[in-house]
Structure formats: structure tokens, C-alpha cells
Symmetry: C2
């Protein structure tokens, strides 16, 4: 038994043929007689031969692998995006290399560099935020697709949720239910999606002729203690909000925890979540179609890999309002 992994030459020797014929067989090139092919296939099985991907890549500079770079794969939206992208990639015969950035710009840059070194055919990037100018130099020749968020400084294909439209629809639903004082709970304004959703919230208020009241806006890391204080403040204010719009799932989870027994406010949440139809008698949500985002993103990337050289396109995936609980039954 050989210690090192068998090579194409070992197979050729075992089968008693030239090694190029083995190459022809493993690449399904044809021009090999049936008799020879069968002999070679037998030898391949006998030696348990498997082609060395590195040698192949070195020759062809095509890895049949794409990179997926995101802040945290444990975050539900990102893991669902990854799953959708992987599924398309697998259909295309490619594998996915996932690297996490923990929302750190230098790690993001290093991750991309490493992937380029590894000759990935393309990259799907969920940017941490901030500039991605560095891509122009580093990812020269490697197609990059931006997913879920935009980065500044570089035009590239992108697939995003209709954050603004979805948030506007959700807010408008609360307006339609008769609310005029609607509070906004979201994460820091530095986050792309949060800014877009805030814009949608504002737009819906403007549309309804409601003045924006900054005292009803919470935009910071949604931490239970701070949110509890904020709710307490609202509750005791002379003119408390009668409804809440939550701009992301973490905020929603924290909000539901912090809200305690204050059962007054109606709630609309951006992003669907497990137990949304159980908690508080059902929570109305603006659901993102995460699966479609990942799928369309991957397909767009593979179209580039297939040679599509058109100018960068941005796709917006629409959201859906899912009405639940009291809000589902109230006037629309």
C-alpha cells in the first residue's frame, strides 16, 4: 500500500497505459476506447485514486469554488443567505468557502485577500459597512456580489431587500390602524439596513402627514436594560406612543423581552421570526425573502462567471407584510 496519495501516473502504470489517457478519462474528454476506459476506471477504483485539485487549479486557474464573506454566520439572516448561496453553488458544481469578519474592516479585507489568493472564481460579500474601495485593487478580475447591504466606493452587483419600501409598508399599516404616535426601535444608524428602514419609517409618516418626533426614535444597539429604560420613559411620557415599529429581529426579540406587561402598543416588526404567531397573540411582520435574496445573488454571480460583462446591477427583493394578531383584524 502506497503511503502517498496515488497520482495519475500510478493509475497509468497500474492500467498499463499512457498517463494522458487517464487524464482523458477523469475529465470525460472522450477519444478513449471503451476497453481502455474500463481498464482505467478499474485501476482508479483499485487504487482509490482521486485527482489533486491543486494541480488542476494551477493548470486551469478555475477552482469551482466561490467565497462567502459575512460578519457572523450564527446570525439567522446570514446563515439563511449562506444556505441559499451554497445550494445554487452546489447546483453549479462549486463549493463555498465561508469566512467571517466579525464586522471588522481589516478582517474583511484580509478575508477577501485570502480568497483571491486561493483563486476562488467569485465572491459573495455581506459587507460589514464602510468603504470597500480596497476591492478595486485586491479583487481585480474576481467578480464580487454584494449581498444584503451595500458598501461604498465601488460599483458592483448587489442584491438587497426592499428595506425602505418594507419599512414604509409596515409603518403605514400601523397608521391605517389609527396610530399617530408610532415609535421606531432599530440598531445604530451606521448599519446600512437600519438606515434604509428608518428612511422607510420616516417616509410613511410624511405620507400620512404625521410629524417625525425624535423622542419616539431609538437607534442604538438593542440591549435589554437600555430598551427597558426607553420603554419606561415612553410609558410615562405625557403623550406615549401607541404603536411600535421594530427594524430588525434582534431588536424585536429584545423589545419583546423588555416590554413586560405593557400590553398597549401595537407592534410591527421587520423580519419574520419563530413564534411570531404565538407571542402577544401574534405579531405582524414585514418578512424578508431571505432565500430568494441568496438565490438571486448567487445566480447573478454565476452569470458573471459565465462571461456576462454588462454594467453592475442592483436587485431589490420585495418584502411581504404578514398580518397577525389584533392588527390582522383591525381596520386596514
Amino acid at each position: 500500500m502506497l503511503e502517498r496519495r496515488p497520482t495519475i501516473r500510478d493509475v497509468a502504470a497500474h492500467a498499463g497505459v499512457g498517463f494522458k489517457s487517464v487524464s482523458r478519462v477523469i475529465n470525460d474528454e472522450g477519444h478513449v476506447s471503451d476497453a481502455l476506459r474500463i481498464r482505467i476506471e478499474t485501476s482508479i477504483a483499485a487504487l482509490d485514486y482521486r485527482p489533486n485539485a491543486a494541480a488542476r487549479v494551477l493548470r486551469k486557474s478555475v477552482t469551482r469554488s466561490i467565497g462567502f464573506v459575512c460578519p457572523e454566520i450564527a446570525e439567522p439572516v446570514q446563515s439563511r443567505l449562506a444556505q441559499a448561496v451554497e445550494t445554487v453553488a452546489a447546483d453549479e458544481g462549486s463549493t463555498l468557502t465561508i469566512t467571517l469578519t466579525h464586522s471588522d474592516a481589516s478582517r474583511e479585507r484580509a478575508a477577501i485577500e485570502s480568497l483571491v489568493s486561493r483563486q476562488v472564481d467569485g465572491i459573495v460579500l455581506v459587507p460589514a459597512g464602510g468603504s470597500i474601495r480596497y476591492l478595486t485593487r485586491i479583487a481585480r478580475g474576481v467578480p464580487v456580489l454584494l449581498l444584503d447591504r451595500l458598501g461604498s466606493g465601488l460599483p458592483a452587483d448587489a442584491v438587497l431587500s426592499d428595506n425602505t419600501g418594507g419599512a414604509a409598508t409596515g409603518t403605514a399599516r400601523l397608521v391605517a390602524a389609527g396610530h399617530r404616535r408610532i415609535a421606531f426601535v432599530g440598531d445604530s444608524d451606521e448599519l446600512f439596513t437600519q438606515q434604509e428602514r428608518y428612511d422607510g419609517y420616516c417616509a410613511a409618516l410624511v405620507d400620512a402627514g404625521i410629524a417625525l418626533d425624535q423622542r419616539l426614535v431609538y437607534r442604538a444597539i438593542p440591549d435589554v436594560r437600555r430598551l427597558r429604560q426607553q420603554l419606561e420613559f415612553w410609558r410615562r411620557s405625557p403623550n406615549p406612543p401607541t404603536a411600535l415599529f421594530s427594524a430588525n429581529s434582534v431588536a424585536t426579540m429584545t423589545l419583546l423581552e423588555a416590554i413586560g406587561d405593557w400590553h398597549q402598543p401595537d407592534l410591527v416588526a421587520f423580519d419574520d421570526f419563530p413564534l411570531a404567531d404565538v407571542v402577544r397573540g401574534g405579531v405582524t411582520v414585514v418578512a424578508q425573502d431571505v432565500d430568494t435574496m441568496g438565490r438571486v445573488g448567487a445566480q447573478t454571480l454565476f452569470r458573471r462567471l459565465a462571461g456576462d460583462g454588462g454594467s453592475p446591477i442592483t436587485t431589490r427583493v420585495s418584502t411581504a407584510l404578514i398580518e397577525r394578531g389584533a392588527l390582522a383584524r383591525s381596520a386596514s
Copy 2:
């Protein structure tokens, strides 16, 4: 500007040195004068040179990458495992290639084969279930670590939750609260974790001198309609269960949805989940330490890569009972 990516020779020519010196610099081998090193580093930056990983791998047969094979990355436990493994890998200077099997044995096999072809240094496998005998042939020479579940037919390092102990503790907590009729809700008995947790449930009943009543056991895909029927059946039975033990998060979510207004039964769930302290006034859970599992698993694998040749070890990561709601206040 060159069209093809610059190589070590381009850098050497640009710097006016032999190309081996460039190799020495990028590999930090020393034996290069400072003057030369600086000149070379300047050229590297000027040409935007990045080493070709494939060529390197071909020479050294070390990829500094490991494979992560799991059924579905969108599943919360698996994405958290992936995150923990990636974090350790990144610390070790390795990247993670993730492949999904959708719980299909042949895809699992193909995934491993592809990773071995790509010369990954090691593999973390969350087995779909069933035999992994094939690994003996395919993954010869590539260390494999089993995570979260065992596969049959091959001794390998493994890191698992203390499923049996955790389920026993959870069940015992219900017994301590005075319950004698405790129903079990879990997924199919073909799933490794579900079988172990069922064993723990049984063990706790035996310990308490309670006879196992098969009519109180639901072991199938937790689908809302079927579960609702099951609950209805239990509710109307002459001697209904007074408490429920749920053996995985999907079952718990479905259960909470299906349970409707039947507020009687106490509930203990295996696996913590968001909103666990909100829903039904707080749900007591047996929490897995998913992060530790992934971390310990990755560390075990890297120890193998570092040359540890001892016999396979199985690590059990303990679970923690988190008491919430009524159960937290009842007799223990």
C-alpha cells in the same frame, strides 16, 4: 498593466533579483539582506502581487483550510457550530470550506470526496446519520472530527452534547415538580440526538419509579397539524399528561404553536431559544453549550493536525438546566 496576475518572477524582475529571494521574503524564511528585502517588498506592493495558493499547495500539500460538512447551515445549532469552528480555524490561520448535505448520504459522501480532492487539512463532519464507513477509504490520511452526532462504522474523534444526561435532568425537574404523567415530544428515532434524549427521558422515569407509557410519546417529524392532533388526543384522554418534555427546538417551536390555549402542562425544552423567557411566562430549558462544542471540536481537530496520534476520543459537553416561569418557582 499586466492582464494576468503577477507571479514571483515578475516581482523578481521588477526588483532585479533572483526569484528565489522573493520566495524567501514571502515565506519569511530569513537569509535575505535587509536592503534586498525592502526592495522586494516594494516591488510586491507596486505590482500588487499575491502568491498563488494552488501552486503552494501543490508543492507543500498543506492548504491551511478545513472542511465543515453539515446537513443544513440555516439550522440554528449548525450555524452556531460553524461559527465556533470558523473562529478557532481563523485563529489557527485556516479557512473553512462549508458544504451542505441536506441530510442525504450520497451528498455527504460526495462532499467529503470533494474536500479530500481539495486537500483540506482536516474535516469537521456533522453526520446526517447512518453509516460513515466510507470514510475509511475516502478520508485516508485526513483527520475527521464528528460533531454533534455520531456516525456508525468508524471510530473517530467526536464532540457531543450530553444529550442523555441533559434530557434526564430536564425530565427529573418535571418529576420534582410533582408530575407523574410526562409526555415526550421529539423527532424521528433515527436521529442520533433524538434517540439519546429519549433514552435520558426514559432513564429519568425509571429513576422516579414511573412506568413508561408509550401513549405519551410522540416521535416523528414535528409538523403543526399532526402535533395539534396529538395534543388534542392527549387532552381528551382519560388520564392526560400534566407536563411535556420537548427534545429539540423545532419540536418546541411547533409545540408552542400547536398548544394553543391549553395552558395546563408544564414544559421543559431541550435547547434554549429566543423568547424562551417571554413565551408562556418563561420556558424552562436544558441549554446546550453549542459554542463550546464547536470550539472544543475544532481544537481537537487541530491537535490531530499538529501530530497528536493517540486513539480517538469522544468528548461530552455538559448541558445546563435554566429554570424559568412557574417551574422556576415550584418545589424542586
